[in-house]
């Protein structure tokens, strides 16, 4: 066996993130409490990984490294960039939020970096076993992050719940991988499409894939495996919720695109039908329950179930357009959802209580900049042009129509209309209602503001010039 330097270069973004995680841990060990250094180091490491990944996306041909374990090419690098953006925005938002919640600890950043490393491994997996390793690395980091506010009961509950259900779903996933291996004798992801054609009627193989599907559906919080999401997102520290809902979801969906690739799905029409039903149910449940929420954080949690449904429509489309749409959607969703959670994290009072709709009444007078940014995120989440959310939805639904799932696209559009009621209600409250608190102006920390502005500019940029990203996604498949 011979290992070449090319292998390590292929995994350079992963290496950068992992080494940064170790450095952060060591700094925390030797210089207890120097979080200013660690937070900036974290952002720097993620930014470096982002730039390395982005420089390699254009024109990259797919390949493998580390003896067929690690996939290279445009797709893993582009997804790496998405994870890194998610991580950077979370770090920028966290520094002020952690201070407010008295959670300042350097380990936070080390764990966050481990999670990003896990996500990169998932997107760069060329083998089911490697994918599983990445998934576990990410998930374990998430369990810790969800329960990071140790003094708060809600956070403890979130961490424990997420851990128990995560372990449960891991069981499904692992059993599924074992069955797939048992049926085919291989764990290479690239072999799945051909096996799907050959073994479309083999119960062991199909059930194995179905169990892998269940495990992934847990991670993306799709109906009927969504029940943990509202509790966990509400209980976890808000910045962590934003991170889990974006980076974590993006990583799980990159698993979808790898394992349930258009080729594999076209060979297994029944599996596609099951996914399409789940997508429709997620859209309907997420949106309808979100309408009746009073807490913004919980509304965002339910809406993230709905968004999982939209993205699944792109997966189930089983064509190039749908798959590219999924990547575009994930990038846009990362920006807008972290932005929305970020605004909530700034508005929170620091005693662990969330922000309700009523508290946002008249916010535009107390915090004009923050309200403007929140309005951008809400418009984008609704899918109103010229923000990126619109094109995400367009490609996903158009892909679904192209794949013969017109009914799914119709449900998606109808449910987007429903979603306008709770997203835009917030905008209406902020701008057209008088608030009870008149005088207290909201102070926005500089780093958090920077994160929100980056997210808003990104949404506008991708909304005005979607080809910036689409010419990169075109290289992914």
């Amino acid at each position: 066996m011979i290992m070449t330097p090319q292998d390590y270069i292929a995994a350079l973004p992963l290496g950068i993130v992992a080494v940064t995680a170790f450095l952060v841990l060591l700094i925390e060990a030797f210089r207890d409490g120097s979080v200013r250094v660690t937070s900036w180091l974290t952002a720097l490491g993620l930014a470096a990984a982002f730039f390395v990944a982005m420089t390699r996306v254009f024109g990259a041909a797919p390949g493998t490294a580390f003896f067929g374990m690690y996939a290279t090419g445009a797709f893993p690098d582009l997804m790496t960039a998405v994870f890194c953006v998610s991580g950077i925005l979370t770090v920028l938002l966290s520094s002020a939020y952690l201070g407010k919640e008295h959670l300042v600890q350097g380990e936070y950043y080390a764990v966050l970096l481990s999670a990003v490393a896990g996500m990169i491994m998932m997107a760069a997996a060329a083998d089911l076993v490697f994918f599983f390793l990445g998934l576990e690395l990410m998930s374990i980091a998430f369990y810790i992050l969800a329960g990071f506010a140790r003094g708060r009961l809600m956070s403890n509950e979130a961490g424990l719940k997420y851990f128990l259900l995560g372990a449960f779903s891991t069981g499904f996933l692992l059993y599924g991988i074992a069955l797939v291996y048992g049926a085919t004798g291989r764990t290479a992801i690239s072999a799945i499409p051909s096996h799907s054609l050959a073994l479309a009627h083999s119960p062991v193989f199909v059930v194995g894939l179905a169990l892998v599907l269940v495990g992934l559906l847990f991670k993306v919080a799709a109906f009927p495996f969504h029940m943990w999401a509202p509790d966990v997102y509400e209980g976890a520290p808000t910045t962590v919720s934003g991170f889990m809902a974006t980076g974590g979801k993006a990583a799980a969906f990159s698993g979808f695109l790898l394992i349930f690739s258009p080729l594999a799905l076209n060979a297994l029409p029944t599996l596609s039908d099951v996914i399409s039903l789940i997508a429709a149910a997620s859209m309907i449940l997420g949106n309808i329950v979100a309408v009746s929420q009073t807490s913004i954080k919980r509304m965002l949690a339910y809406s993230s179930i709905a968004h999982a449904g939209y993205i699944l429509a792109g997966v189930v489309a089983g064509n190039r357009m749908g798959a590219e749409g999924v990547i575009f959607y994930l990038a846009a969703y990362t920006l807008m959802n972290i932005g929305a959670f970020g605004v909530v994290s700034i508005l929170e009072s620091g005693d662990g209580t969330g922000v309700t709709y009523d508290e946002c009444a008249g916010l535009s007078r107390r915090a004009p900049v923050l309200s403007g940014l929140m309005a951008v995120f809400m418009f984008s989440l609704t899918g109103i042009p010229p923000f990126a959310g619109f094109f995400g939805k367009y490609y996903v639904f158009a892909g679904a129509i192209g794949g013969g799932y017109t009914w799914l696209a119709i449900i998606g559009v109808l449910m987007s209309v429903v979603s306008a009621s709770y997203y835009l209600r917030l905008v209406v409250l902020m701008y057209f209602k008088e608030g009870t608190e008149r005088n207290s102006s909201v102070s926005v920390p500089a780093a958090s503001l920077a994160a929100l502005v980056i997210a808003a500019i990104g949404l506008l940029g991708l909304g005005l010039f979607p080809s910036l990203l689409l010419q990169l996604t075109a290289w992914c498949f």
């Binding site: 066996m1 290992m3 170790f22 841990l25 060990a29 030797f30």
Partner: protein, 117 residues
């Protein structure tokens, strides 16, 4: 189905053996209990209070860390056996692996997780 018959017999024998061995002394042994015999065995010491009490969390911490490092060390056995075949690749990978472990070790050391007080 016929090829499964030995397995069924095997399961039956195994279950029987387990049940028999765990209960055989209850069935055939003499029973003469006394206070001394029923008390907790503490290597000849007199038990002074109930065994059910709260331990310091440090026991768990140390136990957990022990298991973590113990399990990681297990990974070195197959590596050592195949060291020659794996060559340079195996060596580099193991150095990376140990370096990662070392970072964790330094971290717990500096955080005082191994200090009793």
């Amino acid at each position: 189905m016929e090829q499964y018959i030995p397995i069924v017999i095997m399961i039956g024998v195994g279950a029987a053996a387990g049940i028999v061995f765990t209960n055989i002394n209850r069935w055939i042994g003499p029973k003469r209990p006394s206070e001394e015999k029923l008390s907790t065995y503490e290597s000849g010491m007199e038990p002074v209070r109930s065994a059910r009490e709260r331990f310091s969390v440090k026991f768990y911490l140390v136990a957990m860390l022990f298991i973590v490092f113990d399990v990681e060390i297990v990974f070195m056995y197959p590596w050592a056996v195949l060291f020659r075949q794996l060559g340079m690749f195996g060596f580099v990978e193991m150095v990376v692996f140990i370096a990662i472990l070392l970072v964790g070790y330094i971290y717990i050391l500096k955080k005082g997780a191994l200090q009793w007080h």
